[in-house]
């Protein structure tokens, strides 16, 4: 190819590819350092120190779920309840995976780590494959994923250490979890014209909270949400079948 260019993306050296990965990861730097610190402070406040925070961020590496984890730890939740909660909170990762199956097909040795590290934020960078460099795309995806996890682990451990020496009372810091979910909820609300799924989630959960109480409402709420969301799909399929029958 002339002058080593391929379409719009020039062929970059390995060093340049790593630099590009770093630049693309910068928006995540701020988000993960700050949110990670919030998580670390919360863990320390709940009686789980820097080692717990480090291991959680290293092994679980799922932001929203780790805030819930801090809650599950302090309330000594049962293992099945924790598994079910993780299933619901992180179910969206199934869909990130589904959309990356094709793009990660020939990632070789990098693939296991890329699959493990596919968080919301990493997905939001790497799903734009028009940003991928022509050559060394494995290297690019690997370093974006690695930089992002480094930000999350370092931010959360920093928070855990700070949590011990904070010059102010951290009472109320647990609201950061609520604030995180409200922010994502509003962002989703503004970006989608169909508000029925969001309302289903709120109303079904609130109804189950009233009926079953705060310590037992979650599982019925998950079941109810899954049922209610399946109804429109089943109805649509039935109508399609009917139309097929008439045709």
């Amino acid at each position: 190819m002339e002058k080593g260019t391929q379409g719009k993306s020039p062929v970059l050296s390995r060093g340049r590819v790593i630099r590009k990965a770093f630049l693309k990861s910068l928006p995540v730097l701020a988000a993960y350092e700050v949110l990670g610190m919030g998580f670390g402070i919360l863990m320390t406040r709940n009686g789980y120190g820097p080692a717990w925070t480090f291991l959680s961020s290293l092994l679980i590496y799922a932001g929203s779920m780790q805030f819930v984890e801090a809650d599950l730890l302090v309330s000594a939740a049962s293992l099945p309840a924790a598994a079910l909660m993780t299933l619901m909170v992180n179910a969206r990762h199934l869909f990130y995976g589904i959309s990356m199956v094709g793009r990660y097909r020939d990632m070789g040795r990098a693939k296991p780590y890329l699959v493990f590290g596919l968080t919301d934020e990493t997905y939001s960078i790497l799903c734009r494959d028009e940003d991928w460099p022509g050559a060394h795309k494995r290297l690019y995806c690997f370093f974006v994923t690695l930089f992002d996890q480094f930000y999350w682990v370092s931010g959360s451990v920093l928070g855990a250490l700070l949590g011990r020496v904070l010059p102010f009372d951290s009472k109320g810091i647990e609201f950061s979890m609520t604030a995180l979910f409200v922010t994502v909820f509003v962002e989703q609300w503004l970006s989608s014209p169909d508000h029925r799924p969001a309302l289903t989630g709120i109303l079904a959960s609130a109804a189950c909270l009233l009926v079953f109480g705060p310590s037992a409402f979650l599982i019925p709420a998950m079941v109810l949400i899954a049922l209610l969301l399946s109804l429109p799909w089943l109805k649509k399929r039935q109508e399609e079948r009917k139309e097929d029958g008439h045709a």
Binding site: A30, A31, V34, W52, S56, I60, A62, M65, V68, L72, A76, L79, A82, A83, T86, M88, V89, N90, A91, R92, H93, L94, F95, G97, I98, M100, V101, Y104, K111, V115, F116, L118, D169, K171, G172, F175, M177, T178, A179, V182, T183, F185, V186, E187, Q188, L190, P197, A198, T200, G201, I202, L203, A204, S205, L209, L218, A221, M222, I225, L229
Partner: protein, 111 residues
């Protein structure tokens, strides 16, 4: 409390394994170019919205309407986060602003 630390370790392991399974599963099931069922694709579109609503209710599950301080700090702070986010669309600003405001409320106003 070694017992509670043991249970904590098991909790971390369970959360890590379920998370990993969710991330690996699509590559195992659909790695061979198998078509993704319509129902799964549909759930992928609608489930994230509903789960976020559920998580907000989960966070607020312990508010009580018996006293003013039992629900007002949460209610005002949630509205502030939502308002900030509608206005500025800046995730960090919304979270930091709402959390600091809530901390001031529960530490200084509704003591």
């Amino acid at each position: 409390m070694p017992d509670s630390f043991l249970h904590g370790g098991l909790l971390v392991a369970v959360i890590a394994l379920v998370t990993l399974a969710l991330r690996v599963l699509p590559f195992l099931v659909f790695g061979g170019r198998r078509k993704v069922p319509d129902y799964i694709l549909y759930l992928g579109r609608v489930l994230p919205f509903a789960i976020m609503g559920m998580l907000i209710v989960y966070c607020l599950r312990n508010v009580s309407f018996g006293t003013v301080s039992g629900f007002l700090p949460e209610a005002v702070s949630v509205l502030l986060v939502a308002g900030l986010h509608v206005r500025f669309r800046n995730t960090l600003l919304s979270i930091l602003g709402g959390t600091l405001f809530y901390m001031v409320l529960v530490q200084l106003v509704f003591v």
